[in-house]
Symmetry: C2
Subunit: 398 residues, 2 copies
């Protein structure tokens, strides 16, 4: 079994089988790329690595754009440097305690797309928002439904989330009113970060997923349910989502997740352009904590649509990919109540509030609440990989 | 009346009262900023202007980010250089015939938002897509409905548009099929380009419109109606739009359009955050030509929602603006049939095809069709300003 000469605690998210990329600074110095290992950040811009100059920049985009050959070459060499004792003398000076660094948004987001991949989630939302109709729309099992979100408000974990104001209409009320959202919610999702771009007019098949997707992050797609409910017909969610989307600071390389792959069952069989993918379902178990209390463990492995299918769909019309494109799974909910990835599902639109162990009760988020999502997956050699946390605290409306 | 020492044809889109910005190159040299005047492009990077170094770059973003003080200072000085004969000797060498240049996408698009501002258009689409319901949804007159589009597929005028493939379902048919769109359409819109960014969590009031918006372009938001109809419930348009959005190559400064301002009537009065704007309705008349034949003249002055209201709405939840954000009006249709801004309206979803003067007939676009949108507005001194063309030709599905 591969082991690093760097001591890594047994329960660390970041064994040497992971090696996720992020952007860090220490004491306000220039942000640069780093790789997480145990309790350290490896200052990779200082190591003898291919494309090391890419790591001296403030985002991962230049490295991400190089493509999967470069990603593999760097990962291979980095593994060698961190496992072979002979490199200890040259590498050790570039290990920085993680507790000493600030983490930044790891990549410049190009376009942001949010999908709707979880059948349990889509069914729950359909029942809540459209109780008189079939919960799943007629198209749902034929195509991975998605929409574009606001790339400019994707923020790194730890960024405070200001409660949004907006229009909402009380049930049975007259006209809409404007004010702070009263139904502020979370959405626990898995996000995919595009490295290799593609040309306009040239669809990317699902089989090319690993050539284009650099890695995986956790996403909290904060949602104002009252704003969303009033605005979303007929053109979809807009201000109910666009105030903030938080991502975890570490991008886990796709190559680290090969042992976590699963293939979901799909019935009916989708159209051919969607069947040559479906090799990158991933058994990732998320954990959602509200003020430190675990409120859900959404299982990404139960998602109906896989990220390679989503990639094929997103480009089937000839839409191009850019380095930095981020697409998220959509809220993940499992079949059990304690696997639901949003408060609107956990509390059934507020009608069944959650009782927290601290004696408080929640329908939706209160000012000061902190939500943290973490996740684990199987890595090579039977190891357990983590993703780091994506966290955010609600600030009162300004 | 202000006149330039550069000869400008009477019917030119680009009198000295306009001075729109673009990015050009000649004979494959380095793209750089230029300003259109009559039949020339002024190579502004070579003139004695404030911030001239900004103009030596391949996008307008750096200059756009400087804010309205800088925009006014440059416009003022540029007007002086181009109207005062004493500068003729130094400036004339930097006039390049427009026929000799290639025009590029003038700015790097950050986020792209498409609104739905025309009551006539929204009513027509409601009647076509949801015949059993009220054509306008209950929210329509309370908020400017909008959604995010794909920024990465915004292309400059002249870029070929490949007919998209996608899923569609024949009426009364069984499952969906996959193939080239059979209902490829246009949408004639006016677009607004953000220069000055804003902070996350800080809404931008409509009264600050001219501080943030740099200028105006024409937009053709190509749409595949069959793909859109099947995919858009419940999360809105996605692949039916994301294959291409064309913009005109010249960004007309807001200051050039002051004389074109109009105030639309709104009933009911919108909520207060939307009433302090509504000063930037613009009387711009578009013209849509299909293979050279005029098929419509959509009047932007009839739009229900104004761009300052759209800006206030888009940021009311605290969403930040970035330099390069583009937001479009939504398809503009007037009350008359020959003022409708899309083929789905002009042909009533294909049931009333257009007979073109060349003897051909169109329900939707055929391969090889060329669509060109132009527009005029009143400028200072009673002049007529144009916007240049946004054009595109349909190529067969690859």
């Amino acid at each position: 079994m591969t082991r690093s000469w760097v001591p890594v605690p047994d329960d660390s998210d970041f064994p040497v089988h992971n090696l996720p990329y992020g952007v860090f600074s220490r004491a306000g110095d220039q942000p640069r790329a780093g790789v997480a290992l145990g309790d350290f950040v490896v200052d990779v811009s200082r190591l003898d690595l291919p494309h090391a100059a890419d790591f001296a920049t403030t985002t991962l985009n230049a490295f991400m754009a190089r493509g999967s050959g470069a990603w593999r070459a760097v990962r291979s060499r980095l593994t060698e440097l961190l496992t072979d004792q002979t490199h200890r003398h040259s590498v050790a000076p570039h290990l920085i305690p993680r507790a000493e660094v600030a983490l930044h948004l790891p990549f410049e987001v190009a376009d942001y797309v949010d999908f709707y991949a979880s059948e349990h989630h889509a069914t729950n939302l359909g029942r809540i928002f459209r109780p008189a109709q079939e919960p799943l729309t007629a198209n749902w099992k034929h195509l991975p439904i998605g929409y574009h979100g606001r790339a400019g408000t994707v923020v790194v974990s730890g960024t405070p989330v200001v409660r949004p104001r907006g229009q909402h209409r009380a049930a049975g009320g007259a006209g809409p009113s404007f004010g702070p959202s009263q139904r502020l919610d979370i959405e626990a999702e898995v996000g995919f970060v595009v490295g290799t771009p593609s040309a306009l007019g040239a669809p990317v098949p699902g089989s090319a997923f690993a050539d284009h997707v650099f890695g995986v992050v956790l996403v909290n797609d904060w949602s104002a349910r009252d704003i969303q409910a009033w605005e979303y017909v007929p053109l979809g969610p807009f201000l109910g989502k666009s105030f903030a989307t938080s991502v975890s600071p570490w991008v886990v390389p796709l190559d680290a997740l090969a042992a976590a792959r699963v293939t979901p069952h799909q019935e009916p069989t989708p159209l051919p352009y969607l069947t040559e993918g479906r090799r990158w379902g991933l058994d990732i178990t998320m954990e959602v904590r509200l003020n430190g209390h675990v409120i859900s463990r959404p299982p990404y492995g139960t998602a109906y649509w896989t990220p390679d299918q989503q990639l094929a769909h997103m480009t089937a019309n000839g839409a191009s990919l850019r380095t930095g494109d981020l697409y998220a799974s959509g809220t993940i909910s499992g079949p059990r109540r304690d696997q639901r990835g949003s408060l609107i599902e956990l509390t059934w639109n507020g009608s069944e509030p959650l009782d927290l162990p601290d004696g408080s009760r929640r329908a939706f988020l209160l000012d000061g609440d902190t939500v943290t999502i973490s996740a684990v997956a199987r890595g090579a050699d039977g190891t357990r990989l983590g993703f780091g946390d994506v966290t955010g605290t609600i600030q009162p409306a300004g």
